[in-house]
Amino acid sequence: MAILRGRFNSERAAWGAGLGAVLAFILILTVAGASGVTFDHTLRTVTMGGALLGLVTGVLGSFAVLRRQSLLGDALSHAALPGVVIAFIVQGRALSALLIGAAIASLTAMAFISALTRTTKIKQDAAQGITLAAWFAFGLILLSYVQGRPDAGQAGLDKFIFGQAAALVQSDVLLIVGVGALVCLIVALFWKEFKLLTFDPEFAAANGFPVRFLDSLLSSLIVAAIVLGLQLAGVILMVGLLIAPAVAARQWTQSLGVMVLLSGAFGAFAGSTGAVLSGVDVNMPTGPLMIVAACAVVLVSVLFAPGRGIVWTVMSRRRERQAVGRPSLGGVQPVMVKRSADDGQ
């Protein structure tokens, strides 16, 4: 059985999944075109931007999910608030200043999470929760302080840095291309180091790799992508696009490289599909549609991915049951075949 699984789990399944995503996108394009979507500059820009953003978050999301940092996007979107308010107090309401403030606050939050998990037995999830609550509360304290100040610029400060996907413009796309290229370059350069770090940090340390440095580098990449994405596409989209494509891609392949590529492809699919669908009718918000598209990919993957998918597992279990049950006539209950039965070749 294991051999069977192994063969089906080869890269062919992943290629199939990637191809399926492309075909699905073409199908959606056709249907959308038939239902009167105008493929103008706006739709092209948002589609392109969504696809590229999905690609970048898909790539980095693979690492975030494998490192059990899936919810970092959510934690950091809250943790950015104090940075935004301090930047406002110091510099006023300039978007770039607010974003720098947000990035600094996110990085301090990240550092605190890592310090807490390193020096105590508190786990990643609780450390993220603590940081989220404390940073956000500090932001609220600052916000309520600013609220009392006699100047009028602070309205909507806590939402101001969060963009929405439909509002992507050409310069945003160029920014994503720049950041995305940098991210992909670094990931490619440090590919084997990141892989080893994610899989077995102790072995990496024993082999002389500077684990702390690599860890901060990878974390910083994820933080940078999150802050960028928050500004361009909003909170919820960042959380979703960081997780869903990676989880979906994980089902199709056994190789990290293929997973990262496929996750990027799924992210791009979700981003572009959401954009196209939101062009069908008014009042179809782009970001949430991207999430729904990404979750649809997850659903298909979890159900039908060969080897791991639920349908696959149920069917192969039934086959095994038949194979075991047939010769033993009458009264014998089907026996569950253990995975370790193939031990010792």
Partner: protein, 335 residues
């Protein structure tokens, strides 16, 4: 209206218990929004600071959706004799809190009450025809509504401070006059823009009353709900509309990210059109800083009008004689 006698009776009771017991203590009034506190200040005139202690919960520029009550706000509410709030659910679930406080004998008054009673609210809910009871809370953007609110609030204040009823109603009368002048000026100013161009495009749907008062069409990219998010088709629709109507300028509010309107502009430009984004924000839910022109109701409304008219490239008519506050010179130029 028929309630008046009873209310008066009750208010007198409250007043007696308040003022008779401690004649030297000022009457403590809390106003939630900046608009409400502006109105109460104008109606009470010199009484504020002497016989009345007025606390405004929302400071300058505070968006009521995002307002976080502070410790002193809570304390002020705990000691208040009367609370004046905007209503129409602008303060969210605080409505229920105000209802509960009323059971303790605290006077609470929604300044939108007369507008609601007259049926001059906009229903926001369009899913079913019968259901129009979820109102757009930005009623103050129509000066005519604000006149009604002034009268109603003056009445409530007179009941609270019967010994000053005369001065309050005099203040109200004068202020209603000012509001009418303002309305006339604003309509005149806004009709400088040619009729086919009178479309106000903003990022957030807060200007229905404003447009209605001044005879403009209003299109918001996003709905009233703060959770509403735009889609590609929304951007395309607005962009197409801008091109179709040949609109030259769009507006951004202070409390919303300008990204979406920026995207509309790019869409229009890519289609060969031309549209600008106004260099200055409009006031939507919040007013300006106290002491500034935009820190009063009249100033806030006039500043919005001036930003719109000048962004369209027209000159403002002269500021009405004697209408206070005086419009500052720097508002007559756009930076």
């Amino acid at each position: 209206m028929k309630l008046k006698v009873i209310t008066l009776l009750m208010m007198v009771c409250v007043f007696v218990s308040v003022s008779a017991a401690q004649p030297s203590e000022p009457v403590k009034i809390v106003a939630t929004t900046t608009q409400a506190s502006d109105l109460v200040t104008i109606l009470l005139g010199d009484l504020v600071g002497t016989e009345v202690q007025l606390t405004a919960l929302l400071g300058a520029g505070v968006d009521p959706h995002l307002y976080k009550p502070t410790e002193s706000d809570i304390a002020a509410m705990g000691e208040a004799d009367a609370i004046f709030y905007s209503g129409l659910h602008l303060e969210g679930q605080f409505d229920t809190v105000f209802n509960a406080l009323r059971e303790r004998g605290i006077v609470t008054y929604a300044i939108s009450t007369p507008v609601k009673e007259q049926g001059f609210t906009f229903g926001g809910f369009t899913l079913s025809e019968e259901l129009v009871d979820v109102d757009d809370p930005h009623f103050w953007f129509d000066p005519r509504n604000w006149e009604l609110a002034t009268a109603g609030t003056a009445e409530a204040l007179s009941e609270l401070l019967p010994q000053h009823a005369d001065s309050i109603s005099a203040n109200a009368e004068a202020y209603i006059g000012d509001l009418q002048t303002l309305h006339v000026w604003a309509v005149e100013a806004m009709s400088v823009v040619p009729e086919d161009q009178r479309v106000l495009i903003t990022s957030h749907d807060a200007f229905n009353y404003f447009g209605d008062a001044l005879g403009w069409e209003v299109r918001g990219l996003q709905g009233l709900s703060t959770q509403d998010e735009a889609g590609v088709a929304d951007i395309q629709a607005i962009a197409a509309y801008v091109v179709e109507r040949n609109i030259s300028v769009m507006f951004v509010e202070s409390s919303v990210s300008p990204d979406a309107i920026e995207a509309v502009r790019e869409s229009v430009t890519a289609g060969g059109g031309r549209v600008a984004i106004a260099p200055r924000h409009l006031f939507s839910d919040a007013m300006g800083a106290p002491g500034d022109f935009g820190g009063t109701y009249i100033g806030m409304l006039a500043e919005n009008v001036s930003v719109i008219v000048m962004s369209f490239g027209y000159d403002l008519p002269a500021w009405p004689d004697g209408l206070l506050p005086e419009m500052p010179q720097e508002l007559l130029t756009l930076e």
